[in-house]
Symmetry: C2
Subunit: 257 residues, 2 copies
């Protein structure tokens, strides 16, 4: 979630809802695919299917951008690609730095979709002196000492943090102090930043835990129970085959170390 400040509610003009903004990249990807296949126009229904949303939502989303469709026909693919790109700020190139070139940082640096549209890996930064100079994805890794200079020399405003959790806040503080105002955080920590700085996080274990929640829910179905059972621990994890490992119904307490 964007930690960013909520925007002014006042004037009615450019109020694109956050949920809509989050879907624009999806639409853009689907449109780009169509564009590559030289499809000239697309209906809300088709595009919605390709993007994995429903068409009413898509039309509502587009309505916040303006009236870019043609009734009875659909949307012009090229035109929409341009409009959405512009709205997302992808008609310019954003230099990005990646801090923390471990396994993950290297994977990110090598990730193709990165450089593709609107973004450019301006620098890779790592705290390990042994890495300095070593090229990753064709870009030489630089040492953390030079972080501030790198940021300002390259006019970087977007930073990616792929360090261990322990280093993340410190790196974040330095990035922000150096002028970065948007951060994508892969470290499993809550970052605190001043107002005006946006943070988004990507967190593997959170995603897995959310999946586990639903998975558990699936396993414990069939029986038509449903009482909110107030007591702390009861609920025999009555499950059947399919998915369900340890039938360890209730555990007294404490699992961490």
């Amino acid at each position: 979630m964007a930690t960013g400040r909520t925007h002014r509610p006042a004037t009615r003009s450019r109020g694109i809802p956050e949920a809509t903004v989050a879907r624009l990249p999806l639409y853009l990807r689907a449109l780009t695919a169509l564009s590559e296949r030289s499809v000239p126009t697309v209906s809300s229904e088709e595009l919605a299917a390709a993007a994995g949303v429903n068409s009413a939502k898509l039309r509502k989303d587009f309505s916040y951008l303006g009236s870019y469709g043609t009734r009875g026909v659909g949307y012009d693919v090229e035109y929409l690609v341009y409009q959405i790109s512009r709205e997302l700020g992808l008609t310019q190139d954003w230099p990005v730095v990646i801090v923390g070139i471990g396994n993950l940082g290297a994977a990110l640096a090598n990730y193709g979709g990165f450089a593709s549209r609107g973004f450019r890996v301006a620098a890779l930064i790592d705290a390990d002196p042994a890495m300095a100079g070593k090229p990753v994805a064709g870009i030489p890794v630089q040492h953390t000492d030079d972080l501030e200079k790198i940021i300002s020399d390259n006019g970087v405003s977007i930073g990616v943090i792929a360090t261990p959790a322990g280093a993340a806040q410190q790196v974040c503080d330095r990035l922000v102090a150096a002028g970065v105002t948007s951060i994508l955080n892969f470290a499993p920590t809550v970052l605190s930043v001043p107002d005006g700085v946006d943070v988004r996080k990507v967190d593997l274990s959170i995603e897995l835990q959310i999946l586990a929640f639903h998975e558990q829910r699936k396993a414990g179905e069939e029986s038509a129970e449903g009482g909110p059972l107030p007591a702390a621990a009861s609920r025999g994890a009555a499950a059947d085959d399919s998915a369900d490992q340890g039938p360890d119904g209730d555990v007294p307490a404490v699992m961490p170390a």
Copy 2:
């Protein structure tokens, strides 16, 4: 956001809002940290700060789980850790397979937080025969041919897709056919899955694009420009702090009709 169809509306067992579920892992992490420091109790205010949310929200979230606090005192850390773990289904161990052992897949396999609490990397799978047998993160990579057998032998219900976009849907189909009902997708594609299967996606370029949107918005706040058609191109990386508000230079919304 969970893509894909989620839970059936049928048996309306336990109504924990999705937004709350998505925050439980955050609370759990904060609580685990407190637990490690042997902090016995914590107030909603403190815990909320540690998790980066506000305290009213946190209390409301916990209220869906039950009444686990003590008025005038706060929450017992150990007890809450257990309750949330149980709610998330982390009192059992979920075997997970990772498909696609490239840069990213390897990074995921090596990721510590993975194996830590509630999850276990049961197998690594890759389509490249040259990788077969090679250990990554101490686990030998297996070939895609054996995917179905691996899934069923290990009772896997959660799969992670870290393949190139082109292979993702196919891998997904095979995982689902083999019995996987939760998928974490790192490939930049919309996966389509049957009802009852949950998909969550992690997508670097979507996150960056969302950041770029806000970044652009910050940059274009002094001048009253930003019209519908003018091509965007300039931007002076002028990093002043506290951008966000703006006296507002609003644009006629193109075609209110």
